[in-house]
Symmetry: C2
Subunit: 502 residues, 2 copies
């Protein structure tokens, strides 16, 4: 059907997160001819490039009648060029929506259905409300083991898959952010120093005060493409890179954009999300750290055990050897919360300084020891000692520095311009630390945007404190942000709970 539905592309400069949005005048010929309404989905076409986007109609004069403005996500995904002609039309009806409706009404999803769904999800063809519906039905109706395996496989198959040409390829993952839990920066050099291959990709912070990639970035460049990663791994056995450049399990990235604001957890989706990324990244033996705590993502040993069984079974079906370990998720790990402050903790452990946080060190040794056993480098029960030796004799530090140099050069983490210390209002015992409030105050102080911002914790649960003894210090780049974080601390339940000593 030939039609005059062409408009000239313009960059709107509006960030709609990952949901592509386009802006058209409600009185333009295309809207009139096609009967488009605001919030309708439209398809853009230009020279074989396609994109599905949500329409927001515009009045007023910032857009001409022959123009279509694209949000940042739409601009990037379309690969649009200023002023080029775009055809705008009604999108075809997607088969995958029938599969979604089938699941809503009690049917089961097989690989073909999930493959079609993940194909459309990864290409951005499903608007947020359909993604929310899919997440809801996965949580509500649940995914059985076969469905979870099929979903994981489908997520892998619609993206790139990396082959490192070696075996075993080691990996680790931590479920649910615990402030300061930066074991990756210690585990990777220990494992690599033992001659194993561990090409680790990590995320930046989304809701936390720092992601592993943010912390590593204060010590070395992390924005590596696959070729750069390969060079680092070939030379040093390991790397700690930002995972976003790789197009592995792209459907997972799209689902996460609605899972977080929706706040609805689906075990099947979580397992598929984690393992699809690992399988697509070419990992073969994976250790998964599950912090368990009242405010953690996993709140009981029973829940952790069930999740663990699912991870191990689905991993096996995908050809991944998965092992899990349950750790304490009730308080921050180490002292620092925020990119640079966490990096300093890591360096203190690697450099074996007298004040290095022992909880971070012990967690890293536990994980590294289990990975060495999982790799067959250490007999069962002996991994921890091997890891300890590699850390204590300086080989881990040397390897970490070598990895940083290979990634583009070791850096010194920045220090914040302003600090403020919060002290105990009375003598007593620290009865609890609210990990969510810790993350929130570190973010209000500027983390992770300002890498030096955040908080350093001076006490741990069960510590006895005197009146006026430092509990934690806020770090910020501006006095305004320091004040802002501080007024948040004062308006909340105590971040660090001190109870009168018995």
């Amino acid at each position: 059907m030939s039609s005059p539905n062409r408009l000239l592309a313009r960059r709107a400069g509006i960030d709609t997160y990952q949901q592509p949005v386009v802006y058209m005048r409600s009185d333009c010929d295309v809207c009139r001819a096609e009967g488009f309404q605001s919030q309708a989905q439209v398809e853009l076409i230009a020279n074989g490039r396609h994109l599905f986007a949500i329409l927001h109609q515009v009045s007023g004069d910032w857009l001409r009648n022959d123009e279509i403005a694209l949000s940042e996500a739409a601009w990037t995904l379309m690969g649009a060029v200023e002023g080029e002609e775009l055809v705008v039309r009604h999108p075809p009806v997607l088969d995958s929506l029938a599969h979604l409706r089938n699941k809503v009404h009690g049917g089961r999803l097989d690989y073909a259905a999930l493959r079609a769904l993940m194909e459309d999800v990864s290409r951005g063809r499903l608007p947020d409300i359909h993604l929310a519906s899919f997440v809801t039905v996965c949580a509500g109706r649940g995914l059985d083991l076969d469905e979870t395996v099929a979903l994981t496989r489908a997520m892998v198959d619609v993206g790139e898959r990396i082959d490192w040409g070696t075996s075993p390829v080691m990996d680790k993952h931590c479920i649910g952010g615990l402030p300061g839990n930066r074991t990756t920066l210690l585990v990777v050099p220990i494992i690599a120093a033992c001659g194993l291959v561990m090409p680790k990709t990590s995320s930046r912070a989304i809701t936390s005060a720092a992601g592993t990639a943010d912390v590593m970035e204060t010590l070395a460049p992390v924005d590596l493409d696959l070729a750069a990663m390969r060079r680092v791994v070939e030379r040093e056995g390991g790397c700690i890179a930002w995972g976003s450049a790789m197009r592995v399990s792209p459907a997972d990235d799209m689902l996460i954009r609605v899972e977080r604001p929706l706040g609805i957890d689906s075990e099947g989706l979580m397992v598929a999300s984690i393992l699809s990324k690992k399988a697509a990244m070419g990992s073969q033996r994976v250790l998964i750290d599950i912090p368990v705590g009242a405010l953690a993502k996993v709140r009981s040993d029973e829940a952790a055990s069930q999740l663990s069984r699912s991870l191990v079974s689905v991993g096996a079906a995908l050809g991944l050897h998965v092992r899990t370990v349950f750790t304490d998720g009730n308080q921050p790990v180490g002292r620092g919360v925020g990119p640079a402050l966490e990096a300093m903790d890591v360096m203190a452990v690697l450099e074996r300084t007298a004040d290095a946080p022992s909880d971070l060190r012990e967690r890293a040794l536990l994980l590294a020891g289990l990975l060495l056993e999982l790799a067959g480098k250490a007999a069962p029960g002996t991994g921890n000692a091997l890891a300890r030796a590699v850390l204590d004799d300086g080989r881990a530090l040397a390897r970490f520095i070598a990895i940083c140099e290979a990634q583009g050069g070791l850096r010194v983490p920045p220090k914040a311009a302003h600090t403020h210390c919060v002290t105990a209002p009375a003598a007593g015992v620290v009865s609890g630390i609210d990990t969510r409030l810790v993350a929130r105050m570190a973010k209000l102080a500027g983390a992770p945007r300002d890498p030096a911002a955040g908080a350093s914790m001076h006490v741990r649960v069960q510590d006895r404190v005197d009146r006026g003894q430092p509990l934690f210090t806020l770090h910020a780049e501006s006095l305004g942000e320091l004040q802002y974080a501080l007024s948040f601390v004062r308006s909340q339940l105590p971040v660090v709970r001190v109870e009168a000593a018995p």
Copy 2:
């Protein structure tokens, strides 16, 4: 917590449908201080007015650092004034989300939970992804009778409720649009002419070529507020007004905005949607027309029976006397499809012209007769004859004209500038008419935006036709739109299927 999170309001002139969106520079103080990201939900406050909105961040220079731009929905809901100071902050966590999650994970929803949910829904506090999640879980887990009753009650209770001060108050409703099914314009004057009260509100087209309000508007003003409606009903016993001005069951309006694009049907939601509007509008005895057909919303007699049982039971719990009737949903009703063309069919039936469409007439008499029996105005089995008498002796026409005059004055429906007749390619029998394609081609021709645009159907299923005999005529205000609708017709499966006669 005092903070400098104030920005000056500006109208963005962007229509985001009902989802309120605000635009802020990503580098403005408020985004920096609060750590807002695109797609985050924010709360706006000014002089006791509150609004929850989704944030889209802006770069480029159309917005200043001290400004916040509001989409049309946000502007209207907030009642914002150009240049006024708005406080922007993180919204509080909503209790209703815990209820939603509870239902997702298999719990049941009681009145208190549904009331909290509908309160937040009606106030626009839930973003579209949460609405989509609620719709999905209602469809997937289902709502039992108690939950459906509680939901209906909650929808009524969070909005206005109208009392007409009389009894019985009659009403009718049709489930799922069938092109041309404009019985309301005939039923209301018949019922009112019999001395009953029928204050009918109708919707405009959303996905169809014409809503009842669009059709009525070609004959009389429909944009009445409650006071105007009362005056019309007091004088004439009935009215046919556009329902949108009334704030009845506002939560339902919000849910519909995601139900339609989501395309997921929930019987419980549908029942609550229909009956909450009726109860809030003060209706007492309601006849519900359920067209059944392969392409209709309800596709089988079994489905119609189940829906009917649910409507009657939930209605009874709400104090509504509900009766249902199943009708043929397999082809358009009357000839016209589009506001003015349908209005002409209605006038022909009222004026008893020789070529008045008899199917529309008979459907209206069936419904009017059942309503007269439901009101106790006619003994069982005699309603149809009474309705027929009132139509045939001109009382219905006189009352319809009186209602139009009371609503602001009778109008003559417009005629389209251009028409094109599509004829039978070969002799045969009409074996089917695709009601969805009929609606689509009428919309492409300009309906309902151009009230005169649409289609008039010249044949019905089972008719014998000769080669070249007219099947339907397209009506449009511009040659371009006529061409556009025509090229759609030619690119599709036949709108009217003609099979070789046996």
